[in-house]
Amino acid sequence: MSEVVKKFMYLNRKAPYGTIYAWESLEVVLIGAAFDQEVNLMFIDDGVYQLVKGQDTTGIGMKNFSPTYRTLGDYEVKNIYVDADSLAARGLTQDDLVAIAYEDMDTEEEIENIVEVVDAARVTELMDEADVVFSF
């Protein structure tokens, strides 16, 4: 296994399906995580819609990839953040979002939901801490 080289922050700013950004970001995240990078995800602006529960894409003929976010825990992604202001501005709360579970196979420690809603100050802090920021 390779060493953790850098702290990656993936910013997700766009609604799913209208453009390819959300899916592309998810694929890059899954690949990065599979290569043992430290992966952080931030959902901000319309990007918060990516995590909304109960998506149905039958009417638009596209693959509904929202269930795939729930595998992020299996991919050892532990840091998933949602911007509180973006949620509030769209009339959403954490209850409208999917829960992503994480289990540490060594310690058998289980976290029911690693999705964390954070305020603007924390968003800034998290972006500062990252070595690399990808904006999708």
């Binding site: 690949i31 599979a34 269930p67 299996d74 196979m105």
Partner: protein, 110 residues
């Protein structure tokens, strides 16, 4: 190269993965395994069926370490390790088992 199962032809991509996951029948796995000179046992089928359920739930073919972790959770720790899984699928448990299961090539596999 398309594969033929019970007289029916199934389209595959250039790497041998089924073109349409919904076409899959268990015979696909048997025929693919035969081409690899592999006899499918109940243990193989456990993993193949597990992968199909995983895809159904998460819409993704898991990378190998994710598969290992998930198998450990679902089928027990004695099966959730690389040694066991590579023993069953020598060409790489995620790649080979996903192919047999009709899934696309796992995301994050090179």
């Amino acid at each position: 190269m398309p594969i033929v199962v019970d007289g029916k032809t199934f389209e595959t991509d250039e790497e041998g993965y089924l073109a349409n996951i919904n076409d899959w029948v268990p015979g696909v796995a048997s025929v693919m395994a035969k081409e690899d000179d592999l006899e499918l046992t109940e243990e193989h089928w456990d993993i193949i069926n597990f992968l199909r359920e995983y895809y159904e739930e998460y819409q993704i073919a898991p990378a190998v370490r994710v598969l290992t972790k998930a198998v450990g959770k679902k089928l027990g720790k004695d099966k959730g390790n690389s040694k066991y899984l590579y023993g069953l699928f020598p060409y790489g448990p995620a790649k080979q088992a996903c192919r047999y299961a009709g899934l696309p090539k796992p995301t994050g596999c090179v």
